[in-house]
Symmetry: C2
Subunit: 225 residues, 2 copies
DNA sequence: TTCTGTGAATATGTTCACAGCT
DNA sequence: AGCTGTGAACATATTCACAGAA
């Protein structure tokens, strides 16, 4: 059995990692406008954060700015991309080609820099064989074979809730350690496997909570502050 | 004993609010299995958190458990639902009926307790008039009228990135203060408007970061453990 | 006893404010 | 001068550990 010790300095804080993609997107927009240099203030505004946070975040990657000047856009794009591991191509498999899976397969931003949808997999014989976004939908029986053959390292689960845990177990068994889960279930996975969850109904419920606060409940008082 | 009249001091931490939907889902599963009472430990496992965190979270709502026994499932469902504002029905409009909008309209969990998709809106004449998930797709020109007529208080943006800010401005102008944004842009809104963002490519990039760490990148470098 | 509820301790994240480089 | 990078102060979140109710 392994020691439960973890590296003491995980390096970049989680909160920072979660914001790097935001900075990257803002920087890409600037690069397209041929902006060569940007200050922490301007980049922060474009990314929707404050400049102190941005500088602190970037300082975790190294000293890539120039005092009195700002950051070189292209250079910073490269550094953040490298930190996020986007200088290589990640093969992504989407399991479950219902409405959501289809949306994901067709989603442009998904296929963009660093990621490639390498496989679409479903259990429904009606769907298997279809061409979606230029890819042939393969049968769930082929799951393990496809993952190995295509070098898939990230799996997106867009299956019904009832199927998610089983698919998860199977992809973990063939060595996948990164899963993006859209099914509304809590997946149980071994240590070392990373699961990120996107849950539409949770987001709605959080909005409802705040909306209720603002409105003063179902009565919707006329004199809102 | 607290006065039941004014719910004034309810300072529930954001982190807690974000987890309440998780607890609620786990509790619903238990209610369906006719489980009457649950301990913090069991509920925590079902929700994928640890029990200390769960108890602390629930303590912000009040003292709804019984020492030595646990929590009454039905009662806790009610209390959390009420706190989240799910005892009323929220009318939701989905703007942008592409692949993603369609997926959302058909997503069962979306339509579940507390939420009702009240309108589907798109700019494409090809799509306007279609019936999707039992709803007629209306034209974007009708946006303001539909929102008012149906009492929409939460808007889901599933438009292309380029259209998101304009639609956002328009719905904010007619009084919407809760927006769930799927478009990969930073929306700018006035104070008091709540925007939650779901960004698929950001989630992927965060996964890639961790995956890279685990694998040591494409080179499979020295395993530092 | 069992299990909740909660202060205290710790860990993580954010903001301030200014030192230090260009 | 202008702007980054960063320690220190502050704020929020998590975990511990146990007092206290059933």
């Amino acid at each position: 059995m392994k020691s439960p010790s973890q590296p003491r300095d995980r390096g970049i804080p989680d909160a920072t990692v979660a914001r790097l993609p935001l900075y990257l997107r803002a920087l890409h927009g600037m690069a397209e406008k041929a902006i060569a240099t940007v200050s922490s203030e301007d980049l922060a505004v474009a990314a929707g954060v404050n400049s102190a946070k941005l500088r602190k975040d970037l300082s975790h990657l190294g000293s890539y700015g120039t005092r009195g000047v700002g950051y070189d856009v292209e250079y910073l794009v490269y550094q953040i991309s490298r930190e996020l591991g986007l200088t290589q191509d990640w093969a992504v498999a989407i399991v479950g080609v219902g409405n959501l899976g289809r949306a994901l397969a067709n989603y442009g931003g998904f296929v963009s820099r660093g990621f490639r949808v390498a496989a679409l997999i479903d259990a429904d014989p009606e769907v298997v064989g279809d061409d979606i976004a230029g890819l042939n939908v393969e049968h769930i029986d082929e799951l393990e074979a496809v993952i190995k053959r295509r070098g898939v390292s990230i799996v997106v689960l867009a299956t019904p809730a009832a199927a998610a845990q089983e698919v998860c177990d199977r992809v973990v068994a063939v060595g996948v350690t990164s899963i993006l889960n859209f099914a509304p279930v809590v997946l149980s996975v071994p240590d070392g496997v990373d699961v990120r969850k996107v849950d539409l109904s949770i987001e709605l419920q959080i909005l409802a909570f705040h909306e209720q606060r603002k409105a003063g409940g179902p009565l919707m008082a006329v004199d809102s502050q």
